[in-house]
Amino acid sequence: MSEVLNISSSPHVRDKWTTPYIMRVVLLSLMPATIVGIISYGWQAAAIVALAVASAVLTEWVFCKIVRKPSTIWDGSAAVTGLLLGLSLGPRTPLYLPVLGSVFAIAIVKCCFGGLGKNFINPALAGRCFLLISFAEAMSIKPILDTVSGATPMGALRAYETVDITKMFLGTADGVIGSSVLALLIGGLILWSMDIIHGQICFSVLGGFTLFIALFGGHGFDINFLLAHLCGGGVVMGAFFMATDYVTSPVSRLGQFIYGCLIGVLGGIFRLYGDTADSFSYAIVIGNVCTPLIDTYIVQKPLAYRKIGRTRPVKKEPFRIPKPVIALGIIAAIAAVALSGVYKMTKPTIEKNELQKKTEAYMEVCPGTEEFETVQAAEDMIAAQSEKASPRINEFYVGKSAAGEVTGYAMSIQTKGFGGKLVMTLGLTADGKIQKIAFTELNETKGLGMKADEDGFKDQFNGKGGTLKLGEDISAISGATVTSTAVVNGVNAGLKFFDSVMKGGN
């Protein structure tokens, strides 16, 4: 045998897993969320995702060209970053933002710090945070599916309103492109089962977050409340796809657990006491920067030195609380104190803002009013209604002008339409005739029941009083009898309530 033989150190065989293989699997696992997002939010969502991926890959290629390094785009990590960034943007984000975000993520956060494996925070999250801070208005998620209530689930949740968990779970509520919890869970659990992501991280993030929300959220272990918080605000995407990023998470099992809990708890603090719906991104970024600290101090010992099973440690060391635990505890405490302080300071302002919003809604149906006052008799009657009554009166106010004269009456009525809950505001003139009606929550069939919100239908009520009859006083929306009936019944209930209040006193 005359050929030259290769010489190398053992082992002489290698596993089939490679970096591009892992990245390809991660890309595939994100596909369900991407597809659901595009189906839910349309072509603009597809364009945003495509632009984010393309510009991430291109940026890396250009960077490698400029610094004269071999191109590293084939390892697939840039595409993963781009896709994650794209999925964490809103579906109506202007198209230049995904490009800017990707360029920042790849060029500044990844390549400038040495490329793959060297970045200190997750590039996709860094890109997102960069956009959130720099383009706050353009980055805010605008409701496009639920146009009636005018709020995204996260907005509603933060305003302590009820949200539709099923829609959030399926990804048909308003949110970022990759907001389908179901699709994300499928991808995430596949990655977990393939041992690509570490269970210690994703489950401790979810566990820490849930526990914190349960303890401090004010609703205890109310499953609906917890699920609503878990399904919203990128918690699932963060737990499975962002926090588990290899490069920016600790390597020891204990370290990963601490890191996951830290992110979960910080996410909970920001969610409950913070002022933004995108707080989870910041929680993960803080976790990322704590990673080197955790890795320096928390190192797992070889099996022979651990006190488990029948192992025989050579010598025993006295137990000490690991330094990083203390350090991280302090950081978390400071963050919590700082945030709750900010909350306390801003609380009156928040309350004032909320009152302002409500007042505006009543102003619309009760024009010329300067101040709304409650009436004791009405309050008693509202409280006396059965919990399940439908239609049900939620609120009743007397509107007064600056001079103190009664300008009219405003009330919020809740009833059931064809598509579920239906909430409207009814404005009455000082003499008890209908001033105007408006809807604050309307979930009816598009093109049919939703026509109730059109002036053609609503204006029929103006100036009327007594007991209204569908077909005589009010003409029904064709093809939406249930909705029309519900509205008329609601208005009648309101009129009747007004009469009772007037008779009852005042």
Binding site: M1, E3, L5, N6, I7, S8, S9, S10, P11, H12, V13, R14, D15, W17, T18, T19, Y21, I22, T72, D75, G114, G115, L116, G117, K118, D195, I196, H198, Y246, V247, S249, V251, S252, D295, V299, Q300, K301, P302, L303, A304, Y305, R306, G309, R310, T311, R312, V314
Partner: protein, 449 residues
């Protein structure tokens, strides 16, 4: 008792190439070369001179001290010379070269079986030592030293290692299938030396025929049993076996005996049986020659001193249309890459693997930066954190490597390097770091004196 250890990897087994090939004795024609160092410890001292006629089974070099082993001739003929020859690993070493006359005349026929009941424990010890037996699993530690722990009563388990976890290698599989009774007799002899010990024959479950054969052989024997193990590398590592059998992990500074165990390769037990009952010294051992580049992969009883190239020729040489790019002494996980096949087979060698492709070459092309994915930590059978060790080693932070990361505990099984998706050369870094630390310690130790 569990049937596996923590961590580990699943390399492609490739045992089908040679698993059905029967063990056969190979009689080489060329000159035979006997390195004086074929074991851990001091090299043996030659007791023959140039021109002496020797016979098969004749002692040609004597152990120098207790931790050393005799060397016996495996062919008959005249001693050609005692000179430096190229040996495994590429270096030159003192060797006795014998001009093989092709007759293989034996000094005795080693066929008369002694009654083992009449042998005292000391005689068993003596005969093992006289036969020059070393651990045939690969390390080559003199067996008589292993059989004399400080406190024989404290030994709870004699583990017969038939795991054979290295890919390609099948000679122990064949040995267990065809010589199961001999192995069990060898184990019985060892068990006699340790009154409180139980014999456990550990075999990976990818060798059902061997498990079956061994189970029949131990069926009416007290104090021993067969344990099927999950097929996983490095199942056949001493520490992995002890962990699986006893649940004990022990630091690298301790010996298996400290955990109450003695591990013997099944090939070694066979050699012990031959040595004690038939007074046959160790001059041949079972051996697999396999790999994609070999025309007819085979299992042999190979004579110590046989030239590797001659052995390959016996297997039909390199397969037509295939280029042998790498030759490994041993299997692909822990084997040593050979620069040339013109070297002699040593006692502790058990395989030659000839690869048609070099995955390391491929891996070097695919190498990326470390992702910190943690696969190396997951697979490490010792429970180390190879990625942090590699960081420390590359940065030259030997203090952290040794004290904080317990880098010296590495058993160099290569699982981390195998599993690494970024194809980092972890093992090389660890070997180098270990060498540097050892050198530094020696220097410091010397300075104190």
């Amino acid at each position: 008792m569990r049937n596996t250890f923590r961590g580990g990897v699943h390399p492609d087994e490739r045992k089908e190439l040679s698993r059905e090939a029967r063990l056969r004795l190979f009689n080489p024609k060329g000159e035979m070369v006997f390195p004086l160092q074929q074991h851990i410890g001091k090299p043996a001292k030659p007791i023959v001179q140039k021109g002496d006629q020797v016979l098969v089974g004749q002692k040609i070099a004597e152990a120098d001290g207790f931790v050393s082993a005799h060397i016996y001739a495996s062919c008959s003929g005249a001693v050609k010379n005692i000179e430096k020859r190229r040996v495994l690993g590429g270096g030159m070493a003192d060797c006795i070269v014998i001009d093989n006359d092709g007759q293989f005349t034996q000094i005795a026929d080693f066929s008369e079986k002694d009654n083992e009941a009449k042998l005292s424990d000391d005689e068993i010890h003596q005969r093992v030592q006289d036969a020059g037996i070393v651990g045939l699993g690969g390390a080559g530690f003199p067996t008589h030293v292993k059989l004399k722990p400080k406190n024989p009563e404290a030994i709870n388990y004699i583990i017969a290692n038939g795991a054979e976890c290295e890919p390609y290698i099948t000679c122990n599989d064949q040995l267990m299938r065809t010589h199961s009774n001999e192995i069990v007799e060898g184990l019985e002899l060892v068990l006699r030396l340790f009154p409180n010990a139980e014999g456990v024959i550990c075999i990976e479950d990818n060798k059902p025929e061997a498990i079956h054969a061994m189970e029949i052989a131990v069926s009416n024997k007290p104090r021993m049993k067969v344990q099927a193990m999950i097929t996983k590398y490095p199942q056949g590592g001493e520490r992995s076996l002890i962990q699986a059998v006893t649940g004990i992990d022990f630091p690298i500074t301790q010996l298996p005996a400290d955990a109450g165990c003695i591990v013997q390769n099944v090939g070694t037990l066979y050699a012990i049986q031959r040595a004690v009952l038939y007074r046959e010294p160790l001059f041949s051992q079972c051996f697999t020659l396999s790999g994609e580049a070999v025309k007819e992969p085979a299992n042999f009883f190979v004579r110590v001193g046989t030239n590797y190239a001659e052995l390959l020729a016996e297997c039909g040489g390199v397969k037509e249309g295939v280029k042998a790019v790498k030759a490994l002494c041993g299997g692909p996980m822990m084997g040593v890459a050979m620069g040339s096949l013109d070297v002699p087979v040593q006692k502790q060698n058990n395989a030659l693997t000839l690869l048609a492709e070099d995955p390391v070459e491929e891996a070097d092309k695919l190498m990326t930066a470390c992702l910190h994915c943690g696969r190396c930590t997951t697979v490490c059978p010792v429970g180390l954190m190879p990625q942090l060790m590699a960081d420390a080693a590359f940065m030259g932070d030997l203090e952290r490597y040794e004290k904080k990361l317990f880098g010296l505990e590495c058993i160099q099984c290569g699982s981390c390097t195998f599993a690494c998706p970024a194809k980092r050369p972890l093992m090389q870094a660890f070997k180098q770091a270990k060498a540097e630390i050892t050198a530094k310690k020696k220097q410091e130790g010397g300075g104190k004196k």
